[in-house]
Amino acid sequence: MLSNDNRIMDYYKLVKNCLKGRPDAQRQLYDHFADTMLGVCYRYTKSTKDAEDILQEGFVKVFFSLKQYRHDGELGAWIRRIMVTTALNFLKRNRNYRDQMYFLPEHLHPVVNDGPVVMLQAKELADLIRQLPPGYQTIFNLHAIEGYSHVEIGELLGITDGTSRSQYARARALLISWLQNYPVDNKKENYGSK
């Protein structure tokens, strides 16, 4: 098990070698982060193919933007931000998602303290999130999982922070209702993933 210092040192060398254009280092970086990043991309899309397209586009951006990485933060977090941005651009660009991602200004729905304990596996939860309408899905991902504030989400998606709040509240309520009714034995019947 590598200590944090060793890991930072390894990342430092890895990035340095990638900047030199060494194919083995590039492959190593990809192998190290690809699984996690595909998990990120997976949550924003409705199909694995779209997620892989985002992953591909994201890694191309990563390799060309690597010289901007200052080693002042976690490399994984930096790559993750690129993936999220790439995913949002993909959603805006792709007609299938764009047509469904409308954000109507709605009255604020206060977030209530009714969250159940999540007992699902990661894949099952991700599949549930993917069942949300694209607008809800995106805002839920950005706020609940990535930790973006509603102001930041508003800037990213070109909506007001109030709209983001209300959309998030609806997404959250919908997801909680699904979780509460989640069948333990036959989960695929109700929440089959695409």
């Binding site: 254009g21 209530v112 969250g115 991700a126």
Partner: protein
């Protein structure tokens, strides 16, 4: 805070979420990276070429623009230059007096033109040697000039006009007197009041004795033939002027001997610095061979590595502006690369188009050096970055046409599970290259002009015609040394 428990739970679960991407993703990413890099390289190259062309164009425009302006200024200035020339020639004519009879009898007059009077003006006139065959009546003249400067030729032409014009002595005297007094007024010439200034006008000596308020001009018959010693002396006595100034060197043809050593490789892409990188040179099983029906191992093409290479040649360089020059030459280059091949096999090669029955197996056991012998015709434009005439950095760019004389290179083929063989017909003979480089120019202690710096050559013509061998374009990088020799005067 309980309201955030749900988000914390979700985040905690999703942090562990990983999906393994399909195997197709990485090759696509890799392909995109290479493609983007290649695009950037091409953009950079064209940017460099555009800058080079712009600078070259600016230099040429500047050169011809100045010429036109000076042409418009007209004959008056040329007259002054010629007058200065005559002054200088006359300055050394005292010794020439003794040989004037001989000079007249041969009807030959050698004039060394170095405008000492205009030294303070810093004109760009090169040395001029005028041989004038003149009969006693002064009608027939032959003018030889060993300069390229058109301004000087204009001056010479103007001088000829003066010589040929049937002016009377009185007219000439008045004109020369006027010129000298004008130049004195403009302080073009410095006058020592204790010495007389002597000028030559059409075979007559013009003696000028400055006084406080008046000017006395006298004429005396004179023709001058300068000896070599006098020429040397003439050069030495020019105050504040180096024996070999930039003005003298400028626009002279120079012979250049160049030698360059470095490494070359064969790349898959144009303007790329990387050799061919095949997935793996390791062998892998051939499909459909588990039963042992065919060869069990298939050898993919070997990745190639760079090899030692050198170039040597001779070229002729000429300054086309004060800061740029053009050179054309002839060179020989020995380029190559290194690959890993297997043992030499005997005859039996029938399925390929090989010119030789001998072939090598594809097993990466031994290193083999491919050599390519080219003859080159490079045309190079060089631009000096700084203005120092003795030590300067310069950027160069150009193109060359090369012809493949011979090679011992091997070509890959998938026959017999991957082999290498000789086939000269598969190599493109005529190539086109782009050249670029940066160099440092300096003069050694012995007065030898040297130029040193890195050089790059990018081949844009595909080398091997076979699609099975991915090696396509030559790339050469090395350090080049050039020695300049001034072209001897005839």
């Amino acid at each position: 805070m309980a309201a955030n428990e749900f988000e914390k739970n979700v985040r905690g679960v999703m942090d562990e979420f990983k999906i393994h991407p399909s195997d197709e993703v990485w090759p696509r990413v890799e392909q995109r990276i290479r493609k983007e890099k290649r695009k950037r390289r091409i953009i950079f190259f064209f940017l460099f070429a555009c800058i080079g062309l712009a600078l070259g164009g600016y230099g040429i425009y500047n050169y011809y623009g100045r010429q036109n302006v000076e042409a418009q200024i007209g004959t008056a200035k040329n007259d002054q230059k010629i007058q200065g020339t005559r002054d200088k020639v006359q300055g050394t004519s005292d010794k020439g007096q003794g040989t004037s009879d001989k000079g007249q009898s041969n009807n030959t007059e050698n004039i060394k033109n170095k405008d000492r009077a205009n030294a303070t003006n810093k004109t760009n006139i090169s040395s001029v040697v005028i041989k004038s065959n003149r009969n006693p009546s002064g009608d027939k003249k032959v003018v030889h000039k060993n300069i390229c400067n058109k301004r000087v030729s204009q001056a010479v032409a103007s001088m000829n006009r003066k010589i040929t014009s049937p002016r009377t002595n009185e007219e000439q005297k008045e004109n020369d007197k006027r010129n000298i007094t004008d130049r004195m007024d403009r302080k073009d010439i410095s006058v020592d009041k204790n010495k007389s200034v002597v000028a030559d006008t059409s075979g007559q000596k013009l003696t000028f004795q400055p006084t406080e308020k008046n000017v006395t001009v006298n004429f005396a018959a004179d023709t001058t033939a300068l000896t070599k010693q006098e020429k040397k002396k003439d050069e030495e006595i020019v105050p504040g002027q180096k024996s070999k100034s930039r003005d003298q060197n400028f626009r002279k043809l120079k012979w250049v001997i160049s030698f360059s050593a470095g490494s070359s490789t064969i790349t898959q892409d144009r303007f790329s610095f990387k050799g061919t990188l095949y997935a793996n040179s390791a062998s892998y099983s051939t499909p459909g061979t588990p039963t042992g029906g065919g060869p069990g191992v298939f050898y993919s093409p070997s990745p190639n590595r760079s090899a030692f290479a050198f170039k040597t040649g001779v070229s002729l360089a000429k300054d086309i502006s004060p800061r740029s020059s053009l050179s054309v030459g002839l060179a020989y280059s020995d380029l190559g690369d290194r690959i890993r091949i297997g043992s030499k096999q005997g005859s039996g090669l029938q399925s390929t188009n090989s010119s030789s029955p001998v072939y090598y197996s594809g097993a990466p056991q031994n290193t083999y050096a491919d050599h390519f012998h080219f003859i080159e015709l490079p045309v190079i434009y060089e631009w000096r970055i700084n203005k120092n005439t003795n030590r300067y950095f310069s950027l160069s760019g150009g193109a060359s046409t090369t012809y493949l004389l011979s090679t011992n290179a091997l070509v890959y083929d998938t026959t017999l599970s991957g082999i290498y063989y000789h086939n000269k017909s598969l190599f493109t003979r005529t190539h086109f290259n782009f050249l670029s480089g940066i160099s440092y120019h300096f003069t050694s202690g012995k007065g030898l002009e040297l130029n040193l710096g890195p050089k790059f050559s990018f081949d844009v013509t595909r080398l091997i015609k076979s699609n099975l061998d991915e090696r396509k374009y030559f790339l050469y990088s090395g350090v080049e040394a050039r020695i300049f020799f001034e072209r001897k005067k005839r």
